[in-house]
Symmetry: none
Subunit: 415 residues, 2 copies
């Protein structure tokens, strides 16, 4: 069973809203083993919608439409569908009853003609009661194909999908399952990874597909397995992931929707350890990533962002002679930053960064993108030199990732 | 001129990523007066892409394709386009040179065959140099229609759109002139604004359009004026913006792509003043916003993120009795944080935040979303209480915005 999603309305086409509905629907459909063949956003012009329906019905078994069901003039989906299925509008009493209840009885708002019109539906459809709003969902069938129309308001669409559409589709499909799992890697380039994994990729079973999804500093590897038995699919993917681990053991930091900060958080909690940071070039971005995790106050104590040498000496207690001798971007300075902030904020671990984020400030020996990162642990202080890009935003992101990853690897190898 | 957007790759169809590229591209194209007729997401199957191209070319003059240009096997866009245009792959020397430079000369990473393959392009296309990555953009023309292929990585797509695609399309469209200007407002709701501005909107000249673009905490008002004389269009828009200022004088913080941090930076530079911060609930996000501005070390000295009471007392020198008596989220604590960090980091101005970002930690008197913000100036320390949402991410963003806006208004009114 194959599905297509069609979103209706100008908001998406002029870029006023980002289509978040489709990704949510795609995930839900995939979990039923129904793949999404295409996602299409069209305007509310009747001829445009009709052409999109015609084209999609040639390709897919199920069309899920969202949008264009509001009470105002620019919402024309219901009228178009009524004509498309050669039907006429009839009153759906339970929906009118529900609208009366929602407006008049609960809120004392009089029900006007526009509200009452929402209870009119094409005679040919099955109505899906929308208890999350006023516009009913509509389920049409034509020559063995299913067309469902829902409101575009995410809350109402999700209500109808969860309570009405997905349960019906689950009964109808039952043709095969899909299992997805994504492996998250850090610090490797896409081309390096592709070369390193080439032989292993060649031996992947036919029913397991692999996709490379690159981000700044990060490559996600998505496995998709197709078959009948979800348990077997999961086992087959896990077996391949176990092989993958042998090629790039240190570079895999998590799975699916893990963030690096969440992975580090779990390791800190496991070790009952606390963390603080002293940031120069990352300017508080590491702190932001860590404190974006709910509950971070249990393991994160804070940061000192030392954007001037004065703060490095006055607050972090760095030796001004060391800064003068080696420069602010140096191994000596970054190691002192880590060690001192660890003592100052009384934590088990401390990360420090010092680098040249750009666009200015580079020199021939230390070009833009040069970054020193240090980690102070209860045993020692270690540090590493990186050279990233000439883009300020990316240098900040990559520096923060590399710092957190340095801590992740140390915690992983700590008994 | 009409455009369609086609995104290629399974990530969107399985709901793994939300398509944010299309909304960005639609906004940019609309600003050139090029409407988007349809947005289509297709898989990386060659026949699927070819059918989408055929269908879209019947409707639109410009097709913008993103995705499927990586160095790996699942990236097939280039090969499909080469066949579609009956061309063959040839080496593009400047791209190979750029890849060599990026990998080998700058980072010492050897260039492999997969990298070199990225420099191969269909002979028939014009290459758009991608200085933000390795996969070049490709510009095709066929029977008066334009087809452009770009990487799907948002950073690279935006680089190519801004530097190559949009300037070329602007020259081609030439339907008359358009002048755009966006007014950035903070702290007002869309419905309040729509009601407040209703009469003024009614008197807007026919050739000036107004769009409301809401963000968390922020509404952007975009003016688009259509006509023949750009100078006159600009004057007409500026005249309306002058009227707008009288309705919401304090809420307009900037124009077009201004960030609030950049606006604050300009004001600090004008006053030859320096800033530091002490952050609790914002967890370094204010520091991150400020240090994302190039050259911020000229006016920003740093932050102390005090995520534990211990850091508040040990580093910021807060009186433990005051914390015990009033709680960490209190006017007394946030004012002391601002005043003390100002002294500690020796700055002219200091901002401090303390609040309950959520999801946990709320109480009946101080529910999740409660935030105290203080500003210490050379003359005094002021503070303000806010209640935001129950969403952690939005609370952090809104708190940081509100803090920076507090400083902006004080600097604006400082002689």
């Amino acid at each position: 069973m194959k599905a297509e999603l069609i979103t209706i309305g100008d908001e998406i086409l002029i870029g006023q809203i980002i289509d978040t509905n489709s990704a949510w629907m795609a995930v839900e459909l995939n979990q039923l083993g129904i793949g999404v063949a295409q996602i299409t956003s069209v305007s509310d012009q009747p001829d445009h919608l009709i052409r999109a329906l015609d084209e999609a019905l040639q390709r897919a078994d199920v069309l899920l439409l969202t949008g264009g069901l509001g009470p105002t003039r620019d919402d024309r989906t219901k009228k178009v569908l009524c004509e498309y299925f050669d039907s006429q509008l009839v009153l759906h009493e339970p929906t009118l009853e529900h609208i009366n209840d929602l407006f008049f009885r609960k809120r004392g708002i009089p029900v006007n003609q526009l509200n009452r019109d929402q209870a009119m539906v094409p005679a040919i459809c099955s109505v899906l009661m929308n208890l999350a709003g006023t516009a009913p969902g509509m389920w049409f069938e034509k020559e063995g194909k299913i067309i469902v129309s829902m409101p575009g308001v995410p809350f109402e669409m999700k209500y109808l999908m969860t309570n009405e559409v997905l349960p019906r589709l689950a009964k109808r499909s039952g043709r095969g399952k899909i299992f997805h799992k994504t492996v998250l890697t850090l610090g490797l380039s896409e081309s390096y990874l592709a070369e390193r994994l080439s032989d292993w990729e060649d031996q992947l079973p036919e029913h397991i597909h692999l996709a490379y999804l690159p981000d700044p500093g990060r490559i996600r590897l998505r496995f998709s397995a197709f078959g009948d038995d979800e348990q077997l699919l999961e086992e087959a993917v896990e077996a391949e992931i176990a092989k993958l681990h042998q090629f790039i053991p240190d570079s895999i930091y998590g799975y699916n929707h893990d963030t690096l900060a969440a992975v580090v958080a779990r390791l800190l909690l496991k070790h009952k350890a606390t963390l603080c940071t002293a940031e120069s070039c990352t300017g508080g971005y590491i702190a932001h990533l860590l404190t974006s995790e709910p509950g971070s106050s249990a393991w994160y104590k804070g940061t000192v962002v030392a954007y001037s040498n004065e703060v490095k000496t006055n607050v972090l207690g760095l030796d001004p002679k060391i800064i003068a001798e080696h420069g602010a971007v140096s191994q000596q300075v970054v190691e002192q930053m880590a060690a001192n902030v660890r003592t100052l904020l009384r934590c088990d671990y401390a990360l420090a960064t010092s680098g040249i984020a750009g666009p200015d400030g580079g020199t021939p020996e230390k070009p833009v993108g040069s970054v020193w990162i240090a980690l102070a642990t209860p045993e020692q202080t270690i540090s590493k030199w990186f050279t990233f890009t000439n883009n300020r935003e990316r240098n900040i992101i990559r520096s923060a990732q590399s710092a957190l990853d340095m801590l992740r690897l140390v915690l992983l190898n700590t008994p």
